[in-house]
């Protein structure tokens, strides 16, 4: 399989009176169709790294290649689907319009869409995330979990081959969170995108990923790479299995080793 993302020696320092080195010497390759999680404590630069991959921020050292070009080139083709921390739905637009947002902006990219990007039908996707009956309401009438489902629908409608998710479930309560997590697993197992997912929940990392990248803080460096051997599909409740717990323990141990070393 080809590489969706290739990072070589990526670094980022935030300037100021006392410059803060957020990332240093990150080498990372993500294969097409892989689900990779960036895991680490606050200050490990995982969100910064994700933003660099998305082209929302620039690296000041190293080389960043996304889908065979620069991140901005991929963004201009709408080949990057971004899921921010909050659902970021437009409160004035109904759920259907929110889910179909990608068709309303940067229309230039739709004239000759990249063969890798396959936009999905809005109503079909809303049905997939269980929001078929809520297409005509405004986001303010949805619960937090439903809003996050609508945000997932939005990014899957866009059809981008690469999805970048920045702690998308961190604002949800634990019960809602595990439900939306399974929803994401289900969608991913059916649509098979390349995903880079940021979280600071070891359980989430173990449950979702093919591979977990553990980052150590200040400056953010890769402390460990952990392959997750749990067989798929996992959307049907593998969360309780001992395998997940074992991976979770491995991730936490790597985090501790990274923080002390």
């Amino acid at each position: 399989m080809t590489d969706a993302i290739a990072l070589r020696g990526v670094g980022r320092t935030f300037p100021g009176k006392r410059p803060v080195a957020a990332l240093d010497g990150i080498d990372l390759t993500v294969r097409a169709g892989e689900f990779v999680t960036l895991f680490g404590p606050s200050g490990s630069g995982k969100s910064t790294l994700l933003r660099i991959i998305a082209g929302l921020e620039r690296a000041d050292a190293g080389a960043v290649e996304v889908l065979g070009g620069t991140p901005r080139e991929a963004a201009r083709r709408k080949d990057i689907g971004w899921v921010p921390q909050n659902a970021a739905l437009l409160p004035w637009s109904r759920v259907r319009a929110n889910a179909g947002l990608s068709a309303l902006v940067n229309r230039r990219a739709d004239r000759a869409p990249h063969p890798q990007r396959v936009p999905q039908d809005v109503d079909g996707m809303l049905a997939e995330v269980g929001l078929a009956d809520f297409a005509d309401v405004r986001p303010g009438q949805l619960s937090g979990g439903m809003q996050q489902r609508a945000a997932l629908a939005r990014v899957f409608v866009q059809g981008a081959p690469l999805l970048l998710m920045d702690e998308p479930f961190s604002a949800l309560d634990e019960i809602t969170r595990s439900a939306v997590r399974l929803q994401l697993l289900d969608l991913w197992e059916r649509h098979r995108k390349t995903v880079v997912f940021v979280t600071h929940s070891a359980e989430e990392a173990a449950l979702l990923s093919d591979r977990v990248i553990v980052l150590s803080p200040r400056p953010g460096r890769i402390a460990a790479e952990i392959a997750v051997p749990i067989p798929r599909p996992r959307a049907d409740g593998a969360a309780d299995s001992d395998e997940v717990r074992a991976v979770e323990r491995e991730i936490t141990a790597a985090l501790r080793a990274g923080a002390s070393g």
């Binding site: 963004a75 909050n86 940067n106």
Partner: protein, 246 residues
């Protein structure tokens, strides 16, 4: 709205108005040179309604023209500042200077410049309407949800997309708040500017009435201007309720 709440919503202001009316009548009876008898006001208006409506028309014309110009300029400037932040440091001090310069001081200078026309009234109304809208529009356009901005950015949305689909709808509450402030400011600006060098308008009516100690005329002019301002606010509120539905 429950019956109890409705009764409270109507009853409380009504009770206060009755109380103010009593206070007015009591003051007018005790000291006739301060306030005219309350009953004299409707009689004064009924005696020559066309006089008041003509002057109201003049003031309202100045206020609405000034509102349009001031609000239009403020929106244009706010849009420019949002897209070229370097403008911000140039624009804001000048706008602030305009805002702190007393209108009463500008009005005579404008009469010298424009003569005894409606132009000074419109300019003053525009100047007073400008600042509240500018501040609210700037705050509104910059009050963007960070996550939404990231989503737009990640799809390389154009500035026009970001403005029309994100900043503008997201700022509507601010814009309507600004419009309310600007509308009352424009009304005040128009009236105050008519105090000097104008023979027409509610402001001129008030000044003339003061000169001749015509208390009923003065108070009818004041109350008419207050009622009209209130109506303008009501209209803006109505439009807001139709437009902002989330």
């Amino acid at each position: 709205m429950s019956a109890r709440r409705l009764a409270l919503a109507i009853g409380a202001p009504a009770a206060l108005l009755v109380l103010l009316g009593l206070l007015w009548s009591w003051t007018a009876a005790a000291n006739p040179s301060v306030l005219p008898p309350l009953g004299a006001l409707p009689a004064e208006f009924a005696a020559r309604p066309d006089f008041y409506l003509r002057n109201l028309g003049h003031t309202l014309g100045s206020a609405l023209s000034g509102f349009g110009i001031g609000v239009g300029a403020a929106l244009a400037l706010a849009i420019a500042v949002v897209h070229a932040p370097v403008l911000r440091s140039a624009v804001l001090p000048v706008a602030l200077l305009l805002n702190v310069t007393p209108v009463v001081a500008i009005a005579p200078a404008l009469v010298v410049a424009f003569g005894f026309t409606q132009a000074p009234n419109i300019v003053v109304a525009a100047l007073t309407a400008f600042f509240p809208m500018l501040i609210n529009a700037l705050a509104g356009f910059q009050n963007v949800d960070r996550g939404s901005l990231e989503v737009f950015d990640s799809m390389a949305a154009s500035r026009t997309d970001v403005f029309l689909r994100l900043r503008l709808p997201g700022s509507l509450r601010y814009l309507f708040a600004g419009a309310r402030l600007s509308a009352s400011a424009a009304m005040i600006g128009a009236i105050v500017s008519e105090f000097t060098g104008s023979t027409r308008g509610l402001g001129a009516t008030i000044v003339t009435a003061t000169t001749y100690l015509n208390l009923p005329q003065m108070w009818v002019a004041i109350l008419v201007s207050a009622l009209v301002s209130l109506t303008l606010l009501g209209i803006i509120g109505l439009v807001e309720r139709i437009v902002v539905r989330w």
